[in-house]
């Protein structure tokens, strides 16, 4: 843990964007904790309950994160990141209320996108990512951990080898094999997302 914990308020928005892109856990956690109350109040005041507030917030949070990754968030157009997150949650909730069968839908598998409707290309990208996510869930725990350490937590092989108790070369080799397994799994998943 050589990276120190960042405080949200001390960060410029460029730094914040970089830290979000790198999945800095302290920053993501603070961002999560500091914006929920507003979203919760909005949902509860608009025919929603606690569970729905949580679901819509988590969806919005993921959408915010994806947009930051894809450079779709620029500070001048959208205000600060907390406001941006709230806006996404709000649109998602309104969209949910507008949908005809909203009484029967759960939020778990719905994916309403913020703002512009998606191009075909983006749509197929989302489908692929969802398939990959399903496949990650089917990996063994060890593979999940290795891939998480490398890609999500952005640890070096040196750090990873210490954590999982392997030497660096074996950790690298194991991660490679896990990744190949993931690719195979992705290809054989019965494609429930395709229409």
């Amino acid at each position: 843990m050589q990276n120190k914990k960042h405080k949200l308020n001390d960060l410029s928005s460029e730094n914040l964007v970089v830290l979000i892109k790198n999945n800095d856990s302290a920053v993501l956690k603070q961002l999560y904790g500091s914006n929920y109350i507003k979203v919760r109040r909005y949902v509860l005041r608009n025919n929603g309950d606690e569970q729905q507030a949580k679901d819509v917030y988590q969806e919005a949070f993921l959408a915010m994160w994806r947009n930051v990754k894809d450079d779709k968030f620029t500070e001048d157009s959208k205000g600060n990141i907390g406001g941006y997150l709230f806006q996404i949650a709000k649109y998602k909730w309104l969209d949910h209320l507008r949908s005809k069968e909203y009484k029967n839908t759960t939020f778990i598998n719905r994916d309403i996108e913020f703002e512009e409707s998606q191009s075909d290309e983006e749509e197929s990208k989302r489908i692929k990512i969802k398939m990959i996510m399903t496949a990650v869930g089917q990996l063994g725990e060890k593979c999940q951990t290795l891939l998480k350490l490398f890609y999500f937590e952005r640890k070096s092989y040196k750090e990873i080898s210490k954590i999982v108790g392997m030497d660096e070369a074996s950790a690298r080799n194991a991660k490679y094999r896990c990744q190949e397994e993931l690719k195979k799994l992705t290809q054989i998943i019965p494609n429930e997302y395709k229409e």
Partner: protein, 245 residues
């Protein structure tokens, strides 16, 4: 072995693609990578696929992480205590102290006896890998549970200097020092831990701080430490030392 050959052929390029996508390529390496990206269609496809794969892995884990953030957030909100309980306890403690003033006994050994009778290290936290990013902390916890306290401290002290406000870390450093027999250091950490009133370990910190002070024969300080606690163990401990001086 087949997999090894495959690995040797592929891993170099894959590694470079990873480095590029994680933003680690610089200078000449980056330049030539981008040039290839521009001209080599197959290569471009490979990079695009790897980008998706990484994106999927990241989103899977972030989604899981959000569940943890949420429950932690809820936990932190629950931990705030109503003031009336504090006031009631404080009042009863004042009476206890008044009574204890009259009691006289052989404090030197008695205080340490109370310590020996009561001290048991905190059982520690579950060390499930994969649910938290703080592996260094949890590998210290593994040592701690094996009663290798110096080892645990060696893991935790560097973390402490990087995160001086982490209440969990401060608390366990205190308990580890106490278990190891270094009361001065234990007292130092536990005093800091006690100031984190919002911490889920705040009450335990008070309890162990009082035990530390008993071990050092500071009976009155231990009483003062326990004074306002509503924690059952602390009330019990105060009960045991009220006749000491």
């Amino acid at each position: 072995m087949n997999t090894k050959n495959e690995y040797a052929d592929n891993s170099g390029m894959l590694h470079q693609i990873d480095q590029y996508l994680l933003g680690h390529l610089e200078g000449e390496e980056l330049r030539s990578f981008e040039e290839r990206l521009e001209h080599d269609t197959d290569f471009r496809k490979m990079v695009a696929e790897q980008r998706l794969l990484i994106g999927g892995i990241e989103e899977f884990h972030l989604k899981k992480q959000l569940g943890h953030y949420h429950s932690q957030m809820e936990l932190e909100n629950v931990n705030k205590k109503p003031l009336t309980i504090w006031l009631a306890i404080a009042a009863s403690i004042v009476i206890l102290i008044g009574v204890s003033f009259w009691a006289v006994s052989d404090t030197e050994s008695a205080a340490q006896k109370v310590f020996a009778k009561n001290f048991q290290p905190d059982p520690g936290l579950p060390t499930t890998m994969g649910t938290t990013s703080e592996y260094e902390f949890y590998s210290g916890m593994v040592s701690y549970k094996r009663k290798e306290y110096s080892d645990a401290i060696a893991h935790w002290e560097p973390l402490y200097s990087a995160n001086p406000k982490n209440d969990t870390l401060i608390y366990f450093l205190g308990v580890a020092y106490l278990a190891k027999g270094d009361h001065e250091q234990a007292e130092r950490y536990l005093k800091v831990a006690k100031t984190h009133e919002e911490s889920m370990f705040a009450e335990e910190a008070i309890y162990y701080l009082a035990l530390t002070q008993l071990k050092e024969n500071k009976v009155q300080e231990a009483k003062n430490t326990l004074e306002n606690s509503s924690f059952p163990s602390s009330i019990g401990l105060l009960d045991q030392i009220k006749s000491l001086r």
